[in-house]
Symmetry: C2
Subunit: 367 residues, 2 copies
């Protein structure tokens, strides 16, 4: 038995947990920069945070200029704003984009990264962060990763450091109550992908496996809700908890070729991140099954079905697939082969094998 495990975020889970635990905000200083997307906070989360800060007599500014798939420019502007208001801490509200942007903002508010954020060695001096997910998928609230759009390399690139773990993650499923079926499905598929990829990581260990299996069980246990688009508050809580578990997994294992391939779908064709993973995961698992059947069996046991059935169930969630030319797929396979998370998989994926997965997942299907 050999593994390492580290996840220092305090998790506070429950209905109205932000309001009920407002005193937890007090220790972080006098003034917060709240980082959120234009629509991310229209679910009560921003009001709850304002309430919590007001209880403690803390000031704040709200920075909402975070687009989906956040850019370097947006995090630089956010850091500028944090410095301007002399923010002592950052509160992130949103899906993966605001939560990831907030991490980079927390770094750049305190550290000069003249060589560029992607080359910068991130130090310890980072504004403390409190993360409040409003989608159930990314797991960013419990990871040390921030995924940003990298226009130079035409992909999404992750920056990572122990100091990027938030101090607290507040989990409240009520913020997801008005999310569309589409976003709910896409983000759930992101979580499923995190858990499954974690089991296939070279860094998988006993503890990450436990969390991954539980995550798969819980998230895919909500399949009927995902298919129908009708979510009870219990479904919402389960999906959020399952996504956070999957975040705990990838905090320790990292991701694998599914993410490596998926970034091109998002960068070049605007496919939402979770959907990109969902499109690729079944074919990836079927490919892995040839090499590490016992690891894939662990995933299947947790899902309660084989890879074929899983593939069909995911297909039903995804609906019509985007079409890609053979040239596109060849290009994506090449780009993915250069991604660092290829080496993170317990199965070796050559460019050829990546192309096989891409073709199986995305090639020559009728729309």
């Amino acid at each position: 038995m050999q593994f390492q495990y580290y996840m220092p975020v305090r998790i506070v889970c429950g209905e109205d947990c932000v309001r009920k635990n407002h005193e937890m905000f007090a220790q972080f200083g006098r003034c917060a920069l709240i980082v959120t997307g234009k629509s991310s906070a229209k679910n009560g989360a921003l009001d709850d945070v304002k309430f919590a800060l007001a209880q403690n007599g803390q000031g704040y500014a709200v920075y909402t200029d975070v687009p989906a798939n956040p850019t370097v420019a947006c995090v630089q502007a956010g850091a500028e704003e944090a410095r301007r208001i002399r923010a002592d801490f950052v509160v992130a509200i949103g899906g993966g984009s605001p939560m990831d942007a907030a991490k980079a903002i927390a770094v750049l508010a305190r550290q000069n990264a003249e060589e560029g954020i992607f080359s910068h060695a991130i130090g310890e001096d980072v504004l403390p962060m409190l993360h409040i997910p409003t989608t159930a998928g990314t797991g960013s609230e419990v990871t040390q990763y921030s995924i940003l759009t990298n226009d130079e390399k035409q992909t999404k690139t992750s920056i990572s450091a122990p100091s990027l773990f938030p101090k607290i993650a507040f989990l409240d499923g009520k913020y997801m109550s008005s999310l569309s079926k589409e976003i709910t499905v896409n983000t759930a598929l992101d979580a499923v992908s995190h858990a499954a990829e974690g089991i296939l990581s070279v860094r998988a260990g006993a503890l990450s496996d436990v969390l991954a299996r539980e995550s798969l069980k819980i998230v895919f246990g909500e399949y009927p809700a995902l298919l129908s688009g009708e979510f009870t508050s219990e479904s919402r809580s389960n999906l959020l908890y399952g996504a956070t578990l999957a975040g705990m997994v990838i905090a320790n294992t990292g991701t694998t070729p599914v993410h490596g391939m998926g970034y091109s779908l998002t960068y070049f064709r605007g496919v939402p991140h979770g959907r990109a993973n969902g499109l690729l995961l079944p074919a990836f698992l079927q490919e892995c099954e040839k090499s590490v059947p016992e690891r894939v069996r662990m995933i299947c046991d947790a899902l309660g079905m084989g890879t074929e059935a899983f593939s069909e169930k995911v297909a039903a969630l995804l609906g019509d697939r985007e079409r890609f030319s053979e040239e596109e797929l060849r290009d994506y396979a090449h780009r993915a082969s250069l991604n660092k998370n290829i080496k993170n998989c317990c199965v070796y994926f050559s460019e050829e094998r990546l192309l096989a997965v891409l073709c199986r997942a995305l090639g020559r299907r009728t729309r």
Copy 2:
């Protein structure tokens, strides 16, 4: 779904993990105080730590004056030694006693506790700690608790603070390879008790439940080895990993009346801590089953047996039981009723109900 979860210790698990990861020691400073019991380190752990420190050019002193059930005097003397050598950090090697003593030493080396360690409000300024368990039971390597003998109150009292979490826990089952059957059984029963009590805590939550169920499965999965006293290196690793999981549980849930009652058995009669819990746990579970059958069922499902079968299996591990007079048991029930962990149980235990458990577990049996 409502819970809080926090466990910031980095876990490094695997054979020779101390030697292989010696560079992890470097960041904590120039000089270590190694805290261990007189025999705790005679299993290779002390040599491995000395090797790791030497690789980094770090100095150290070894403090071995930690008795079983550590006293306030021993941690005060240890803190004195830490100050004398200007220790930058503490390395704890041993079972619960050295690991718990090391935490109190790390506090007292930096903080004046003139009002006494049990009344002292523990601040953030604590020497960083690296913990290396050499028994598989206490879980202290992943908790914020230090349990010390409290002669004033004639019991064991826990001190607790977020700053008492070690920075790193190194888990290597090889340090347990020469442990006696008796110590292995007693410490395993401590771990089982932690996991089961965690499920019956008022602070139990989805995440602690996952870890507790897995812990019960893994530790009690080693029942044949525990009964025969023949342990493979895989058994040792499993017992250690299971005990650490159970430590992660109680870091979040705390313990319950089993520990509350058990402290008297240890304080007044010298019953080893894990054995005390093992003596009490089955009767406690049978009592809880009347009030919260669904919680006890979760425990039984993980153990793979009902409370009656569990009681028999534990009895086979414990062998002959110590005898206690009715007067002793009445006294223990009264003392336990004053313990703070009584309120931490999802079942209310009056003094009368505590006595019923004590009598069922310990009363009127032939030796």
